[in-house]
């Protein structure tokens, strides 16, 4: 193993044995579970799947925790001569993502037990679903571990395919199927880019191992290859304009799947970008500026769209795009820090990004789970048909509220901690002397603040419309609070979120450790310069606590003063109008209408209605429809695909449905191969 000798923490023999043992255990557990899932009664399927995911999560987390403490765990599979050695390595970065994947998958699978209860009579569907879920979880973990380009692509593909099949759980609905196919196609565009990048490196260096990137980036220009990987991984992560699969796939999938997809699968795109960054050798500054610019635009675009949509799962999907933008801002800052040689910026940028990866996986899965709880009860995703659910589903409402505040970056929750780090990074970046960088950073500062502002608007709208007021339309079934197995995973996530919010020191130290070994010892000595900053950031929990104390004191004073005073319940003041009804409440649509109007150039609104005719004195009942389109999808992507389909029409004669011609194609092909070989055109 010549190229491992340079690493600091070469594993001893028994360490490798231990890792091999754990991985084998996880494989065999998975195989046993898959067989068991096929033959078990429907009742136990979900429990078997859940225990398998938990077992796999524990087995892989055991190794990841070791890696977070700085010992790189690695294992080398000796494969055949073409594949070469396949290194399976868990370093700090992999470990961080593996732990996030494991946590979200475990909460997802437990939540799924309750969520899929209504489907207990469709046994085959459930076996298929749970087998896929187990495979999906394992493939995500393996994506983080494999450091061999081919093996990585295989794991990546297994992940994409299994998640695609999970998305189309409701495959009898054409919309769901359409979303699944859209996802499938876009994921393969992503794979194409990745493959091109990997093959490029292979031809330059002759090795399939990830370590070959070091050699490549040492010898060649860094920009183009990085951009190819940024596009490839960016499609998975959802940077604009490559995001258009997200708003289709997430609403279509069952909620525990969308929670896991939005929580972690998009983060594996971020993982890939981080992985490539760890090999970069030059051109940090320009790449940082590119990433930063794209990220700000992604953030603003994502949240603007989230603000106007009425389908609450679609809204959450757009909000994921926004958060990917925020993470990207951190990555851009970190790259700029590397370019400027600023240690503090390096830690703030990458540290903020990594912490936000964790935070977003927490509150986004929480939001998807609580939104899924609402969907399970009311069977609609249109928030404008709902209202007043806080009375029937108080626990779900509070969980959603916590998620909404955290995702808006409001203190005292965890989102604020990572956003605070990023803001500090932006301000720290202002210390450079380059005017173009300063301008970019100040614009980013404004952009990040406007993202925060719109997310307050988005989530007050969503929470207010779904849970507050009174119901806008009578529902077929009276909604009720969901089962415990759906609530407990959410409590677990909230506990985790609070731990990030109030013990940021622990998480920050872990990340700093990770970042010390992230890029090869360029900055390793420098983390001491960051100590003052870390101190300041970790104190933020004290201020949050103080705020909570102030709220508590005010509440007690209020309780004391109000005690014994009269307290009446009356109808809402209708501003002297005496016959209000529930349909007259402000809807989500009207709440964000003015925003939609101002940003009309980006938020494409399509209305369908018929005007009153000139002589129409007594108008009939009529319909008015309005919905928003995704700007990039509507204006560019469908334009391109439309033309592609048009061009493809000319080749329709090939697929004519006649078996005779298909046989004929085969014969032509074989004869062609034969003659070409005989004539030695082909060798």
């Amino acid at each position: 193993m010549p190229y491992f000798a340079s690493r600091n923490n070469v594993n001893s023999e028994d360490k490798m044995m231990e890792m091999e043992g754990l991985l084998n255990l996880s494989w065999s557990a998975t195989l046993v579970a898959i067989i068991a899932l096929c033959f078990n009664s429907t009742k136990f399927k979900s429990y078997i799947a859940a225990s398998t995911v938990v077992v796999n999560a524990i087995l892989t987390s055991l190794q990841a925790v070791g890696a977070l403490n700085g010992e790189v765990q690695e294992l080398i599979f000796q494969a055949n001569s073409f594949w070469g050695d396949i290194p399976v390595r868990i370093d700090g970065l992999s470990a961080w993502f593996i732990l996030i994947v494991n946590f979200t998958s475990v909460t997802g699978v437990i939540y799924g037990i309750g969520y899929l209860k209504p489907y207990e009579n469709s046994s085959q569907k459930l076996s298929f679903h749970w087998i896929l879920f187990v495979v999906f979880h394992l493939s995500m973990v393996w994506v983080c571990m494999l450091q061999h380009t081919f093996a990585f692509l295989v794991a990546w593909e297994v992940m994409s395919l299994s998640s695609m099949l999970l998305v189309i759980f409701d495959h009898h609905k054409p919309k769901t199927l359409q979303a699944g196919i859209n996802y499938l196609v876009q994921m393969h565009i992503s794979v194409t880019f990745l493959t091109v990048g990997f093959i490029w490196v292979y031809f330059q260096t002759g090795s399939f191992s990830f370590d070959a990137f070091q050699t490549y980036f040492g010898a060649n220009s860094n920009i183009w290859l990085f951009l190819i990987f940024f596009i490839g991984f960016g499609i998975k992560a959802g940077f604009i304009p490559l995001h258009s699969w997200l708003p289709h796939a997430h609403p279509a999938a069952p909620s525990h799947v969308s929670g896991v997809m939005s929580g972690v699968i998009v983060k594996l795109g971020i993982y890939g970008i981080f992985r490539i960054i760890s090999f970069l050798k030059a051109d940090f500054l320009i790449l940082g500026e590119i990433v930063l610019t794209i990220s700000v635009l992604t953030g603003v675009y994502g949240i603007l769209n989230a603000a106007v949509h009425r389908d609450f799962k679609r809204m959450l999907a757009f909000c994921t795009i926004e958060n990917i933008g925020i993470i990207g801002i951190g990555i851009g800052l970190g790259l700029m820090g590397m370019g400027n040689g600023s240690v503090v910026l390096y830690y703030l940028g990458f540290g903020g990004a990594l912490l936000h990866v964790l935070n977003h996986s927490l509150f986004k899965s929480l939001l998807f789970y609580s939104a899924g709880a609402v969907y399970q009860q009311v069977h609609t995703r249109d928030m404008n048909k709902l209202g007043g659910l806080i009375k029937q589903m108080p626990k779900t409402a509070v969980l959603f509220l916590i998620g909404a505040m955290a995702i808006g970056g409001l203190p005292p929750f965890n989102g604020f901690v990572s956003e605070f780090i990023l803001y500090n990074g932006l301000l720290e970046g202002l210390k450079t002397s380059d005017i173009s960088q300063i301008s970019l950073l100040v614009v980013t500062l404004g952009g990040l603040s406007i993202i925060g502002g719109i997310s307050v608007l988005t989530f007050t709208k969503t929470f207010g419309t779904i849970f507050l007021g009174s119901e806008r339309k009578p529902l077929a079934h009276q909604p009720a609070e969901v089962s415990k197995s759906m609530l407990w995973p959410q409590y677990l996530i909230v506990a985790m979120m609070l731990s990030v919010a109030f013990l940021p020191r622990f998480y920050l130290n872990t990340i700093l450790n990770l970042l010390d070994n992230f890029v090869n010892n360029r900055f390793v000595a420098g983390s001491s310069g960051f100590a003052a900053y870390a101190e300041n950031i970790t104190n933020i929990n004290l201020y949050s606590l103080l705020f909570i104390a102030i709220v508590a004191v005010s509440w007690m004073i209020r309780a004391f003063v109000v005690k014994g005073k009269t307290r009446e319940m009356q109808p809402t003041w209708g501003c002297a109008y005496v016959a209000p009804n529930n349909r007259m409440q402000y809807t989500g649509k009207s709440f964000s209408k003015s925003l939609g109007k101002i940003f009309g150039f980006l938020l494409v609104e399509e209305k369908r209605y018929s005007e009153l005719a000139a002589g129409e004195i007594f108008p009939e009942t009529r319909k008015y429809e309005s919905h928003y389109h995704d700007f990039f999808e509507y204006r560019f992507i469908s334009y391109i695909t439309h033309h592609l389909v048009y061009a493809a029409n000319y080749f329709k004669f090939i697929q004519n449905g006649r078996v005779q011609s298909y046989v004929w194609y085969g014969i032509v092909f074989m004869v062609a191969i034969f003659t070409l070989t005989v004539l030695t055109v082909l060798k």
Binding site: A397, P411, L445, V456, T587
Partner: protein, 301 residues
């Protein structure tokens, strides 16, 4: 600590001064300066009426809104004396805590299920969203100019410049005061004395609040004015000794309050549909400050 006391004193008089100036300029005698305080005390003594539609959100929201304003009051410094809390990046904390308070006041308006209150909530969310970048770019420019990131250090370092920095301070005053107007829903953005619910922003959101809760909301409004006033004062006083700076504090607060009163007496509210654009213009003023900062630092070649 000093800033806290001064803000509290200013908050007692600020709204009273506005009302007094308004009544004097319309030829009336007007209520006493302390009338707003008496109003609040009276509200504190009253019982409450809750809407049947509301949930617990409606009851906790005013407390959280009030606490958020108290919390941000703690980070505002006064010249050379720090606020009760002072740390790097405290202005981010300032903005986000205020946003938290706003979050709750918006959802509490939605909680009543009234179409009017929903409308006010939507406007409040939209306007404060547009005000955000102006504030952040202003603060970012000050951070760039001074090389510090906490309120106290930024303001303390600010006066050691040329005259341009005072020009910037005046632009900064404009931005901060406008942000204060938006936060408090005062004249160019919103008319607190309008009697049509359709044209209200903030007033319509609190239609259903009563008693102690309404008192808290009003008090928070008074405090917010004084807090923004204190920020404006900080732009000018720098490291002046206390026997200049404390009188200056009250003079500037008084000028601001009477300015607000005069604007409200002689100006009409902007058209609701143009408000958003107007608020966005603030961001460009902030950008102007940013360019000024670059100019002072000699970054333009």
């Amino acid at each position: 600590m000093l800033s806290l006391i001064l803000i509290l004193i200013a908050a007692v008089f600020f709204t009273g001064v506005i009302i007094r100036v308004k009544s004097m300029s319309s030829g009336r005698k007007g209520p006493g300066i302390l009338q707003p305080v008496f109003d609040v005390v009276r509200l504190f003594k009253k019982g409450v009426v809750y809407s049947e539609t509301t949930s617990f959100i409606f009851q906790i929201a005013p407390t959280i809104y009030f606490s958020s304003v108290v919390m941000v009051m703690l980070v505002v410094p006064f010249g050379q004396s720090k606020g009760v809390l002072s740390f790097d990046g405290d202005f981010i904390f300032f903005a986000y805590i205020l946003a938290l308070g706003k979050f709750f006041s918006i959802i509490s308006a939605m909680d009543t299920g009234s179409s009017f209150e929903g409308m006010g909530a939507s406007r409040e969310a939209l306007y404060s969203m547009f005000a955000e970048p102006a504030f952040f770019i202003l603060m970012g420019s000050l951070a760039l100019l001074t090389g510090h990131t906490s309120f106290h250090e930024m303001f303390a370092a600010l006066h050691i410049g040329s005259y341009i920095s005072y020009a910037l301070a005046i632009l900064g005053t404009f931005v901060l005061m406008m942000v204060a107007m938006i936060e408090n829903s005062r004249m160019p953005i919103d008319d607190p004395k309008t009697h049509l619910e359709l044209t209200m922003v903030h007033e319509v959101m609190i239609l259903d609040n009563s008693g102690f809760d309404l008192g808290l909301i009003l008090t928070a409004g008074y405090l917010k004015f004084a807090i923004y006033g204190a920020l404006v004062v900080n732009l000018f006083i720098g490291m002046f000794p206390y026997h200049y700076s404390i009188p200056m504090f009250f003079v500037i607060q008084f000028v601001l309050a009477s300015g607000v009163g005069l604007i409200e007496s002689f100006m009409a509210r902007f058209r609701m549909s143009h408000n958003a654009q107007f608020i966005f213009v603030l961001t460009s003023v902030s950008l102007l400050i940013f360019f000024g900062a670059l100019l002072i630092l000699g970054k333009f070649v």
